[in-house]
């Protein structure tokens, strides 16, 4: 389905998001249309393909629901709902933002997210959204769910404590033949990500880096490269999530380059 969304489309339709009239191509999702028009709708699972993240097509798994909007008055996930002529979308409203904040809070208490020593801190979408929605104090009880760490693979480490089951890695990290390296296992609250133990052995440097970069949290991290991005060069050090620069280029943080005299945070 995702590949179909990227086919060139020419029929333009018009819709409004928060009263702003925009044009979109038929077949695009609300998230894609908004992105194209510089309107921010938060996402943790959906991801726009660009040069930086190396994706060939946009991801729209529809798992996290943080992009929930009202389309013609009905709540729906904006990353899976296609646009239609005359559609009226409510996005940046107090009610929806409060719902989104709740989703962020629930994700935090469900996993074991310790930002202080997570190397994705400063480049983490979940953390950035917690700042955006001013998550100042825990409203829900921590679940303290026992989660596993899978370090039994080369180049990468998967930390279940931080995984939010967004499905980005499942969809995007594949061999040249299209076989997935990460897959879902189990169901419901037992759901987890498992790794193809054979395919992962030959993962390239580039694919390993891409896996870390597209992970919206710190669940997939490169081995032995930890913390090589200094403060001041992390993804959200200078522009918070949802600002103009972070919409136009969703993957501004690449590690390992231009380290001379990084700015202080």
């Amino acid at each position: 389905m995702s590949e179909d969304m990227n086919k060139p489309l020419t029929d333009l339709i018009s819709l409004t998001i928060d009263g702003q009239e925009i044009e979109a191509e038929e077949g695009q999702t609300i998230v894609q249309a908004a992105q194209k028009n510089g309107i921010y709708i938060p996402t943790l699972c959906a991801l726009h393909a660009d040069k930086e993240n190396g994706l060939k097509y946009d991801l729209a798994p529809g798992t996290c629901r943080i992009c929930t909007v009202k389309a013609n008055g009905r709540t729906t996930a904006a990353c899976t709902t296609p646009v239609s002529q005359g559609l009226v979308v409510e996005n940046d409203t107090p009610e929806l933002n409060d719902l989104r904040k709740t989703i962020v809070e629930l994700l935090f208490v469900e996993g074991n997210h310790f930002c202080p020593f997570c190397e994705k801190s400063g480049s983490c979408d979940l953390q950035a959204l917690a700042y955006r929605y001013q998550m100042l104090t825990p409203r829900f009880h921590y679940a303290f769910t026992p989660r596993k760490v899978n370090a039994d693979m080369p180049k990468l480490l998967w930390d279940g404590n931080r995984c939010i089951l967004c499905r980005r890695c499942v969809l995007a990290i594949r061999t040249e033949e299209g076989e997935p390296l990460f897959v879902f296992a189990n169901r419901g609250d037992k759901s987890t990500i498992i790794v193809d133990t054979e395919l992962i052995q030959d993962i390239s440097e580039e694919l390993a880096q891409q896996a870390m970069d597209i992970c919206p949290v710190g669940a997939i991290i490169r081995k032995e490269k930890g913390f090589d991005t200094p403060f001041g060069q992390r993804k959200y050090d200078h522009s918070p999530i949802g600002s103009i620069s972070s919409i136009s280029s969703d993957m501004t943080c690449s590690s390992g380059e231009n380290k001379t005299g990084g700015e202080k945070s």
């Binding site: 760490v149 370090a151 032995e224 403060f231 202080k264």
Partner: protein, 488 residues
């Protein structure tokens, strides 16, 4: 009637501790103890985490000198990934770390002397507690207070420029560092941060000298107090550079006894387990380390500024070396065993740190770009350094999957556990013996003895060894089928 006095919490120290003093019917002190009442458990919960997280995770033991833990863990990880034993890094990596460390030593010593200890000296141990605090210092000695704030700021800004943040940075990574120092940052530190000439490298040296002059002046008018209060002979242990120079970042383990006789002779820091052992006592979460060869009774030692100046042969910066000579001459070349002289030694080290920061800032290696080294990976990492409060030991074992399986930390303050307990007892005996009434100044005197050691009680708490556990399996008739024991 026998009496038990409890001082809780001990104030103007880092972390939480309490003191108990037992007096008998004749008002004689029978026993005094410094208890560490917090339990932390970092050694346990770092297990299962990837090794490169350790320098960032373990530093959260403390908000005062996290840099020490950050660097000790990073040094251990250097060894693990085959980047040498504190000497295999690229020049920019080692010098950036040293700059970070001396910035840390500087700010921590300044914090301790001015903010925590100086009220006792400026106002007297028996002054009104409402005046005898840092606010009192600001109100009555505003120039001194301003210097203290700016000196601490300078050290903190050095940390921010090298570690990324003032508290809990990420600068040191296994095998090196994640940034160098830009020319703009260097020039700001040399000439004055934000164009403020009071925040320049030379000003830090000047103010360190004046702080030392202040203490020496105080000493001349309070000689008996500084020399006699809570003084007792002990062994002294610290790292020194292999040529005997004071080196707070890396060195070999050396110890001398109260007379200056060498009792640990320049042992490689990786062999620390051959030198020290730890004892657990039931009433404190802080362990009691001792020099293995001398045993529990005689092997305890002091660490920190006083011990370091007793152990080293010389200080490799000119002004601090001159002060060391004066310090050594006072005890005629013998080790200095006076607890209150910790302050003197601490201020000499402050001056040394200021000189070192300037020397490093002028070094063009700091602008180089080869930040990380790697070598052959092994399964174990040991990193020692001299933290502001003394020798800090970090030891990790890591499995083939890169996860930490064992962590042993001997934190600076832990080394001073026995000396602090002795200092508490000495102060209690001197102040309280035979007194019918125990007053607030008497209790503060006990705290003054502890404060001289600048303890950081928050990171010195420790797991109490193996948890003893016995499991017995009975059958339905009540007969023992199986019995398993652990740690007993």
């Amino acid at each position: 009637m026998a009496q038990k006095i409890t001082i809780e919490p001990v104030t103007r120290v880092e972390g939480h501790g309490k003191v108990t003093i037992h007096l008998d019917d004749n008002h004689q002190v029978t026993e005094s103890r410094l208890h560490i009442v917090e339990f932390r458990g970092f050694e346990r919960f770092v297990c299962g985490r990837p090794f490169w997280e350790a320098p960032v995770l373990v530093q959260r033991l403390c908000g005062i000198c996290p840099v020490s833990h950050h660097l000790a863990a990073a040094k251990a990880m250097d060894m693990l990934i085959g980047a040498g034993d504190g000497n295999g890094l690229t020049p920019v990596a080692e010098k950036m770390r040293r700059l970070m460390h001396y910035g840390q030593i500087f700010q921590s010593h300044v914090l301790h002397f001015f903010h925590l200890a100086s009220p006792d000296l400026l106002f007297g141990m028996d002054a009104d507690p409402e005046r005898r605090n840092v606010i009192g210092v600001i109100l009555e000695h505003p120039e001194l207070a301003k210097q203290a704030v700016l000196m601490r700021k300078y050290g903190q800004e050095i940390i921010a420029a090298t570690a990324g943040k003032k508290i809990h940075g990420t600068g040191a990574i296994p095998g090196g560092i994640n940034k160098n120092l830009s020319l703009e940052e260097r020039d700001a530190f040399l000439n004055g941060i934000n164009g403020n000439p009071d925040l320049s490298a030379d000003k830090m040296i000047e103010w360190s000298e004046s702080a030392l002059a202040l203490l020496l002046d105080y000493h001349s008018s309070h000689t008996d107090f500084l020399d006699g209060f809570a003084a007792f002979p002990s062994n002294h242990l610290s790292l020194v550079r292999p040529d005997g120079a004071l080196d707070l970042y890396h060195g070999v383990i050396r110890a001398v006894d109260a007379q200056g006789k060498r009792i640990v002779n320049d042992v490689d820091s990786r062999d620390y387990l051959d030198v020290v052992e730890e004892e657990v006592r039931s009433w404190s979460y802080m362990k009691f380390p001792y020099i293995k060869e001398l045993g529990k009774e005689n092997g305890w030692y002091r660490v920190g500024p006083l011990a370091r100046l007793n152990v080293c042969d010389f200080i490799p910066t000119p002004k601090a070396q001159q002060e060391l000579e004066r310090f050594r001459a006072y005890t005629k070349g013998k080790p200095n065993n006076m607890s209150m002289h910790y302050h003197w030694a601490r201020l000499i080290e402050t001056l040394h740190a200021a000189e070192m920061m300037k020397e490093l800032l002028l070094d063009p290696d700091l602008q180089k770009t080869d930040l990380v080294t790697k070598g052959e990976r092994c399964g174990e990492g040991i990193g020692l350094l001299e933290a502001p409060r003394g020798t800090l030991f970090h030891h990790y074992q890591v499995n083939e999957q890169d996860l930490i399986t064992m962590c042993n930390l001997i934190v600076s303050t832990t080394n001073n556990n026995e000396p602090m307990n002795r200092a508490v007892n000495a102060a209690a005996v001197a102040q309280m013996t035979g007194k019918a009434e125990i007053t607030e100044p008497m209790m503060n005197a006990v705290e003054v003895a502890i404060r001289a050691y600048d303890p950081c009680l928050s990171c010195a708490t420790h797991a109490m060894g193996q948890m003893p556990l016995e499991v017995t399996l009975y059958d339905a008739a009540g007969a023992v089928v199986d019995q398993q024991r652990k740690g007993m």
